[in-house]
């Protein structure tokens, strides 16, 4: 408005004579600007233009044009556009809606075209040197025009536009993907079963408008790009379509599927999608390619690096976007599934590798850690899960996460809860040791890991890795736990990780010794090949000195065999009547080197005792100044039972079972009390042990706690019923005392030291006691390294029992009264 006012003012000032001429010239020029056909370069126009320029009015032309554009837009064009878009709303089908969308934009373009033409003309005049007509700044006029269009048109957009655009793009996308993908998808989606519905546009084939849709797409992109509205109208829709489609496709193809890699598959699919994008942004791309938008220093349009793609910065940008989408969505999904992936690990390696690739491109490590930790806590670390299962998952996690993150930081952080939890389980050590020796059902991994173990790398961890090239050093990821250990200490070795759960390998070795003792004592033959192999492998891991005790145990087995055959030989030289009534062999232990064995009282029948005495005599002859102390309850017995109508042969039972049944040989009925006196064993134990013979149908219990031999098997069915009733609690007892019992004993040993120290030194702090103990009690097989917390707990217990006083962190003994 102001511009026009000014123009009139200046016209007045310039004088009335020229007034009419200027007005005419103005009329001519503006008419020419707005005329649709485009005027030829007539002389009259040029004269008028020159006149206007002469009057200094030329530069007002641009302003006038913009002003008119603005007025027309806000008064007519924009309302018309929205009305057209919204008008027939619900009655129409999708196809119709697409058409409405297109025509709305077509009308818009039709209305605006004269202005755009005028702008172009103005610019070309200016370029031809016919005076400054565009106002300041080359190209500024067009920019301003488009800004005005955008501003007025999209000032208050109705949601209908977004909906329509979204719908239209989705449709053209599926049409495009259908056409392009036909080659690859033809096998899975033949035309037939759809019942004549075009898979592209989703209507019966005869009404298929696939082609039309693509045409419309092309036209729409063209219009939008001409109005420079493409970015504003389409971007949001395209983004959400891509997002949704990638998500959908991933949901369909990848969820729960860990065994193959999806990266390449998605790569090709994304290229296909890019083909569609190139259609959406076709005109933009062309324009970009031909003449870079003035003012905006766009990337010089070199041919795109990716072969076969129309090169343009827009498409390049979209390619990046799509990759980013893809990675993010993929990582999100895999993070959700990570627990299952880990559980299936060796099979799910492909998924881990994909995840690793994508994770490097998104910033989601923290999310992964949090999610994985909580998955562990909710799915694994509760009382319902067996320790061996936790260990199995932990081992898989180690394997999987060291693939995922070679710096081991994820492993270290995510598995912290597992380690903490395992520490609270009592049977963890035993399970791990069982795994190592290949006893456990579930985790055979450990045994193979042990045999695979290369001690070289283990050694490496201890040395300072002097040889490593400092150039190869890579810093820790930012989420690493800052600890003293440092990255080189962050081990990925499964066994070291498991062993370090408790912080000390001594506990492990003690437990291994107990397991080894059990295995050796339960063995009937003296075959130790497997144990020797295990011990050798463990020696590689833990060092010679730690496994020394186990070696002595194995040597005991070999010695026992030799001594046995010596004694056998001696016996065979005896005359017939001197032959021992019982074939006895023995495992002879070096008591100091075996873990403490359970002490149980058991009086064996005289025939066995005699045999043992005879054996001891021969041993004493063999080894001067040495004798044997028998452990009557340990070992195993093979025997045959001859009953009146049947024989049970080759039963292998424990000595106490054998002792029981031997007594029944002399006397066919015993009460529990009588047996208890005879065997010197508690009644409850005997009651349990008798169950075995009841199960075999050899003994039966009658009222009054009396047991009888079942001589005839006539009562077979009765016997069977008996079998059902007696529950077998005959689990294989361990011969060694449990870890906690041993620990208790050890603490008692410490107590003697502590008392002595406090007597001499009056009072000491916890730290002092701890370091003194470490110094004094550093030798000997049973003393494992003691945790300072454990010591504190122990001392506090003593304080509660009034055997110790504590004040201000200093411990002292109570004054003797």
């Amino acid at each position: 408005m102001e511009d026009i006012g000014m123009e009139e003012d200046s016209a007045e000032i310039s004088g009335s004579a020229q007034k009419q001429g200027v007005a005419d010239a103005w009329e001519t020029v503006t008419n020419a600007l707005m005329s649709p056909g485009g005027p030829g370069p007539e002389q009259g126009l040029w004269d008028s233009l020159a006149l206007l320029s002469g009057e200094g009015l030329g530069r007002l032309l641009g302003g006038w044009l913009l002003e008119t554009l603005q007025m027309r837009l806000s008064s007519a064009v924009v309302p018309e556009f929205w009305a057209e878009l919204q008008q027939p709303e619900n009655e129409l089908e999708e196809r119709g809606r697409a058409w409405v969308l297109l025509t709305a934009f077509q009308t818009l373009l039709g209305r605006l075209e004269p202005f755009l033409g005028g702008l172009e003309r103005l610019e070309s005049w200016q370029d031809e040197g016919r005076g400054s007509v565009c106002g300041p700044g080359p190209g500024g006029l067009q920019e301003r025009a488009f800004t005005i269009i955008r501003a007025l048109l999209l000032f208050s957009p109705s949601p209908v536009l977004q909906e329509r655009v979204l719908e239209f793009y989705s449709r053209t996308f599926s049409v495009y993907m259908h056409q392009e993908g036909q080659a690859e998808d033809s096998a899975e989606a033949p035309e037939g079963p759809e019942g004549g519905v075009c898979p592209g546009c989703g209507v019966p084939t005869q009404q298929c408008w696939c082609k039309e849709a693509l045409e419309q797409l092309k036209e729409l992109s063209h219009i939008l790009s001409k109005l420079q509205l493409l970015e504003w109208v389409s971007c949001e829709a395209v983004t959400s379509i891509l997002h949704k489609l990638i998500e959908q496709r991933m949901e369909q193809h990848c969820r729960g599927e860990y065994e193959r890699s999806f990266l390449l598959e998605f790569q090709t699919w994304l290229e296909l999608v890019l083909g569609w994008l190139s259609k959406v942004f076709a005109s933009e791309a062309e324009k970009d390619g031909l003449l870079p938008a003035p003012g905006a220093p766009s990337v010089p349009s070199t041919p795109c690096l990716q072969a076969g793609q129309p090169g343009s910065s827009v498409l390049k940008q979209w390619r990046c976007h799509m990759h980013q989408f893809f990675c993010r969505i993929y990582v999100n999904m895999r993070i959700e599934e990570l627990f299952s992936i880990i559980r299936d690990f060796p099979e799910s390696k492909a998924a881990i590798e994909d995840l690793k690739f994508c994770l490097e491109r998104t910033n989601q490590r923290q999310q992964l850690l949090t999610s994985l930790k909580s998955a562990f806590e909710s799915r694994l670390l509760h009382p319902g899960v067996h320790t061996s299962d936790i260990l199995t998952v932990y081992i898989s996690a180690i394997k999987a996460l060291r693939e995922l993150d070679p710096s081991m930081v994820i492993l270290q952080v995510a598995c912290q809860p597992i380690r903490k939890y395992l520490r609270t389980r009592e049977d963890t050590v035993r399970q791990i040791v069982a795994g190592l020796t290949g006893d456990a059902e579930g985790c055979t991994d450990l045994a193979s890991e042990l045999s695979r173990g290369d001690p070289v790398t283990l050694e490496m961890q201890d040395s300072d890795e002097e040889g490593a090239d400092p150039e190869d050093w890579t810093p820790d990821p930012t989420d690493a736990v800052p600890d003293k250990m440092g990255s080189k200490r962050r081990s990925s070795d499964i066994i070291s990780l498991l062993v370090s759960i408790y912080g000390s390998k001594d506990i492990f070795i003690d437990e291994y010794r107990a397991v080894l003792a059990d295995r050796l004592l339960h063995q009937l033959n003296y075959n130790t090949a497997r144990e020797i192999r295990n011990v050798e492998l463990l020696k590689l891991r833990f060092g010679e000195s730690h496994m020394h005790y186990c070696e002595v145990m194995l040597k005991d087995m070999a010695d026992s065999r030799r001594i046995n055959s010596n004694i056998r030989e001696e016996e065979s030289r005896l005359s017939e009547e001197e032959q021992p009534p019982l074939s006895l062999s023995s495992i002879i232990l070096s008591s100091e080197f075996w873990p403490p064995l359970k002490e149980e009282k058991l009086e064996l029948p005289p025939v066995v005792c005699q045999a043992m005495e005879a054996y001891t005599h021969r041993y004493e002859k063999l080894k001067a100044m040495r004798t044997l102390s028998w452990k009557p309850h340990l070992g195993s017995v093979t025997l045959d039972l001859e009953l009146e109508d049947r024989t049970l042969t080759n039963l292998t039972v424990s000595p106490i079972h054998a002792a029981i049944i031997l007594h029944f040989q002399d006397k066919s009925s015993w009460t529990l009390e009588e047996l208890s006196v005879k065997l010197g064993a508690p009644k409850e134990l005997l009651h349990r042990k008798l169950a075995l013979w009841q199960q075999h149908g050899v003994l039966r219990e009658e009222a009054g706690g009396r047991y009888y031999v079942v001589e005839t098997g006539s009562s077979k069915e009765k016997m069977d019923r008996g079998v059902m009733l007696i529950d077998s609690d005959e689990e294989r007892d361990s011969n060694t005392t449990t870890q906690s019992e041993q620990r208790e004993e050890k603490l008692q040993l410490f107590w003697a030291y502590i008392q002595a120290m406090l007597t001499n030194l009056d009072s000491m702090t916890l730290d002092r006691i701890h370091s003194m103990l470490r110094m004094f009690v550093a030798t000997g097989p049973v003393v494992t390294e003691m945790d300072i917390n454990e010591l504190e707990g122990f001392l506090q217990r003593k304080v509660r029992e009034h055997q110790l006083l504590v004040s201000a962190g200093v411990y002292r003994l109570p004054k003797a009264n």
Partner: protein, 84 residues
Amino acid sequence: MKVKIRQWNGVASWLWVANDENCGICRMPFNGCCPDCKVPGDDCPLVWGQCSHCFHMHCILKWLNSQQVQQQCPMCRQEWKFKE
């Protein structure tokens, strides 16, 4: 009923017939071995003196070697003579 025992596998531990538990020199159990040895028993035997004290053989030999003047039992200070 007749019970026929085919094989009885017992378990026993061996021990030195000595009047003490620990070696008076190294303070380790007799049934273990002296600090220099790895394997007990045959490889690290005990020896008795005429004074009836006994030690790990390796321990007492070391002790005797370190005595310049007179060879005495470290426990009772009598002259050390191996018991035959």
